[in-house]
């Protein structure tokens, strides 16, 4: 049987970095093929090469027996390749129908208006796939799940031989993942080959027929999903022994002792709030550092807050779970003191550390050095002034200490933030925000987009901060990643449609929290 997709010796470089190094890959028609690897392992690059978005520097892409050559996205489309991007490739101000039509070469005739019956055809296809899609609303106004449905429908409108999905489950609650997988199984039954890029092993193993692992741009293994264990795969992914509990992940040339810190003795000594022997203050020594009472915000963000009450104590991590876009951003802005509420009571420390969702756009100025990025937090402080001048020497000293304490892999504090890896960027932001306030730290999806090693390291840093010294900060961890919430949090609440629902300790498990995350969906106003 002819392969739906075949890559032969594909190499793709970005400057000195080889993202794909002579990779062979085969996808059979009707199979679901999981593609695993750390961030930067080359998964997304492989998918983008197969979709014709990137040209390989060497090697060949063959689709259904026909070499793609240099025909690009259009050529791959014509051969039946479709891709669902991680950051959706939708035009926000187009309606669902327009977005589908943009992608669908058969949609619009030369005569002008959408060919008669096209809309009906789209509706029929959506129904066939069991996708509920709103066609007449601008997709920018839709929730992330609805947008993903448009993205999938768009990809599957034409004749599809190969469907590539890049991290499609990252934005979904557990129950929604199952719905997506049902669609994928149906598409595979119809004969298309599916490449599922993901980093959650259990999810991939639940749906895939075969899996392939990439590491540092090289092929590592391919095997039947039924025949490999999660542990074997994890080892293949990171390249050495794995200790599931978040302990030392060694190996690889970026590793080494001290990469990953777990307990209190590894607490970063940033700023003045140094940690001598951490006296295990958890679960909070009952000193409240922040309190919200019936806080309502209806302006300043697309998702309002409706009567949110919470308190944060010293030395505890309060996890706030929820599907993105349910008011988390608004809550973070209120907690950071950036957004005054319309009503309700807010008590906050003078300064609050905030690790924002988007580290490259909001957390850092990419063209600034690490020192200058640290200065963003301290430039107003009298400690860093000499008369009218900013004390750059003092800032550089603090930045150097941060680089050391947070284990940032950089030449020096004069290194540009933009050239750091995602994990190191996040360590800079985390250290800086802790520097800003030793009282309250708000972390918004702090490990989003990080690879396994960096994720472990950043989580460990946050955990260590919350246990540091006699006056540890309270931490509010906002994340849509349930594993992260469950791993780090002392208490958990779920954010749904602008409300905050506390989760009792006995319900601290994925199923119960997942149900809560979806519970109030679609209900109207109170």
């Amino acid at each position: 049987m002819r392969d739906a997709l075949r890559l032969r010796g594909v190499t793709r470089r970005f400057g000195p970095v080889t993202a794909l190094d002579q990779v062979d890959f085969a996808l059979a028609p009707g199979e679901i093929h999981g593609l695993l690897g750390e961030n930067g392992a080359g998964k997304t690059t492989l998918a983008r090469v197969a979709a014709g978005i990137l040209q390989p520097d060497a090697g060949q892409v063959v689709i259904g027996g026909e070499p793609l050559g240099a025909r690009g996205v259009g050529g791959a489309r014509a051969l039946g390749v479709a891709m669902v991007h991680q950051h959706f490739s939708l035009v926000p101000r187009f309606t669902g129908l327009e977005n589908v039509a943009l992608f669908d070469s058969a949609a619009w005739t030369r005569r002008g208006t959408g060919s008669p019956g096209y809309r009906e055809r789209v509706e029929a296809r959506a129904e066939e796939l069991g996708l509920e899609v709103q066609l007449d609303v601008q997709v920018g106004g839709l929730g992330v799940v609805e947008r993903q449905r448009v993205e999938i429908l768009k990809a599957l409108m034409g004749e599809t031989r190969v469907l590539l999905l890049d991290e499609p489950t990252a934005v979904l609650a557990p129950q929604e993942v199952e719905g997506l997988f049902a669609v994928l199984r149906q598409v595979a039954r119809a004969g298309a080959g599916i490449v599922l890029v993901a980093h959650k092993l259990d999810e991939v193993l639940a749906v895939a027929d075969r899996v392939t692992v990439l590491r540092r741009g090289r092929w590592v293994l391919t095997g039947e999903a039924a025949g490999v264990s999660a542990r074997e795969l994890a080892e293949a992914i990171v390249g050495a022994g794995v200790d599931g509990g978040g302990g030392g992940v060694g190996g690889g040339d970026a590793g080494g002792p001290g990469t990953v810190g777990g307990g209190g003795e590894d607490a970063p000594k940033v700023g003045a709030a140094g940690a001598e022997q951490a006296p295990e203050p958890r679960p909070g020594d009952d000193v409240e550092v922040a309190r919200l009472r019936a806080v309502t915000v209806s302006t300043g963000g697309p998702i309002p807050l409706r009567g949110v009450s919470m308190e944060v104590r010293r030395g505890e991590i309060l996890g706030i779970a929820g599907v993105g876009g349910n008011g988390q951003r608004t809550l973070a802005a209120v907690l950071a003191g950036m957004l005054p509420p319309d009503s309700g009571e807010v008590q906050l420390p003078e300064e609050v550390g905030w690790i924002p969702l988007d580290r490259t756009e909001e957390g850092l100025v990419n063209e600034f050095t690490i020192s200058e990025n640290v200065a963003l937090a301290v430039h107003g402080s009298d400690d860093y002034r000499r008369g009218p001048w900013l004390d750059w020497a003092g800032v550089a000293e603090t930045a150097a200490a941060l680089v050391r304490d947070m284990d940032v892999r950089a030449d020096s504090s004069a290194t540009q933030a933009g050239v750091l890896s995602g994990g190191n960027q996040q360590k800079v932001v985390t250290g800086r925000e802790f520097l800003r306030s030793g009282e309250l730290l708000v972390a918004e999806s702090p490990t989003r987009g990080l690879d396994v090693k960096a994720t472990v390291a950043v989580r460990a840093r946050i955990a260590a901060l919350a246990r540091s010294g006699k006056r540890p900060p309270g931490v509010v961890l906002i994340s849509s990643d349930l594993d992260e919430i469950l791993e780090l949090s002392d208490r958990i609440a779920v954010m749904v449609r602008g409300r905050l629902i506390p989760v009792p300790r006995e319900d601290h498990n994925p199923t119960a929290i997942g149900e809560l995350m979806l519970s109030a969906r679609g209900d109207g106003d109170p």
């Binding site: 959706f88 939708l90 943009l102 030369r110 002008g112």
Partner: protein
């Protein structure tokens, strides 16, 4: 009363005549901005159009002049596009440079051809065509239907562009490029090529607008005669909300503002004319301040897009 009728009729004729070059340039720029490129160098296309029109008309007659003007404007836009789209340089700075250079080099060409003294040049002009029945409609008839061919081209462009942008697949692709080049690229739309073509199209219409200035409006060429028409056209696009119908309405409105100065001078010659010259610019600013809040530019306007 009859006098007022005659006055308002001649005012309208002037308003349409002055609005046409703005409409032509702005309609082209609408397409360019819908594709995500703001071309401050439009002013350069207008002045090249005026000079190209003048040189073309001397060699080939008035209609050849119009074609040459459009071509010259298109070439200036091609230079802009080569930098701002193909090399992906900053659109605003590139456009400013193209405008400065165009004003300089058109002056250089003009002086080398006609001497530095700038003796008043007399060009063959494009005559008005009267549309048989429509021109008889009182007041508006002569204003709209006794104009040069450029006016009819502008009228024609409105429905054609409306159909193209909102009813065709290529129009959909072009708008996608302007809203989100990433999404358009992922859908297989060639972003760079689309933007290049859109910019050059705007250059052609802006060049035609320039040729209208030299071959319809004045019958001569003078250095810097574009006098900011290209800039006003960009404001007109904003006021017309990136929609051909709105754009042509806004262009006529500004034509009216310019015509006002002639009408009022006819009434009282002592009125300070520089203030009336400033009027269209002041009105542009006022209209931008008043209207902009309710309109939205394409999201990818002035966005960078690297090749490859």
């Amino acid at each position: 009363m009859a006098e007022f009728g005659a006055l308002s009729s001649s005012f309208l004729v002037a308003a349409v005549g002055l609005g046409v070059p703005l409409a032509l340039a702005a309609l082209g720029e609408t397409v360019s901005e819908r594709a995500g490129v703001i071309n401050i160098g439009l002013e350069g296309s207008v002045i090249w159009g005026a000079l190209g029109g003048a040189l073309g008309a001397l060699a080939l007659g008035p209609y050849g002049g119009l074609a040459a003007g459009a071509l010259a404007g298109g070439l200036a836009a091609l230079v802009f596009a080569a930098f701002a789209v193909w090399l992906n340089t900053d659109q605003i700075i590139t456009g400013t440079a193209v405008t400065i250079g165009s004003l300089g080099f058109t002056g250089a060409v003009f002086q080398s051809r006609f001497g530095a003294t700038g003796l008043a040049l007399e060009l063959p002009t494009v005559p008005a065509w009267e549309v048989p029945v429509l021109a008889r409609i009182p007041v508006v008839g002569p204003a709209f239907f006794d104009q040069a061919v450029t006016a009819y081209l502008a009228y024609l462009l409105v429905p054609v562009l409306g159909w193209f942008l909102f009813r065709t697949r290529r129009g959909l692709s072009l708008r996608a490029v302007g809203e989100s080049p990433e999404a358009a690229n992922a859908a297989g739309v060639p972003v760079v090529r689309t933007r290049m073509l859109a910019v050059v199209f705007a250059g052609l219409t802006a060049g035609l607008a320039g040729a209208h200035l030299s071959l319809v409006h004045t019958g001569t060429f003078a250095e810097n005669m574009s006098a900011g028409k290209g800039f006003i056209a960009i404001a007109v696009v904003v006021l017309g909300r990136w929609n051909p119908k709105g754009v042509v309405a806004a262009a006529l409105f500004f034509g009216g503002a310019e015509a006002l100065q002639f009408a009022l001078q006819a009434v009282d010659a002592d009125l300070p004319y520089p203030l009336f010259l400033a009027l269209p610019y002041v009105l542009s600013l006022a209209a931008l301040a008043g209207w902009f809040g309710r309109s939205r530019a394409p999201e990818g306007l002035a966005s960078a897009w690297p090749r490859g």
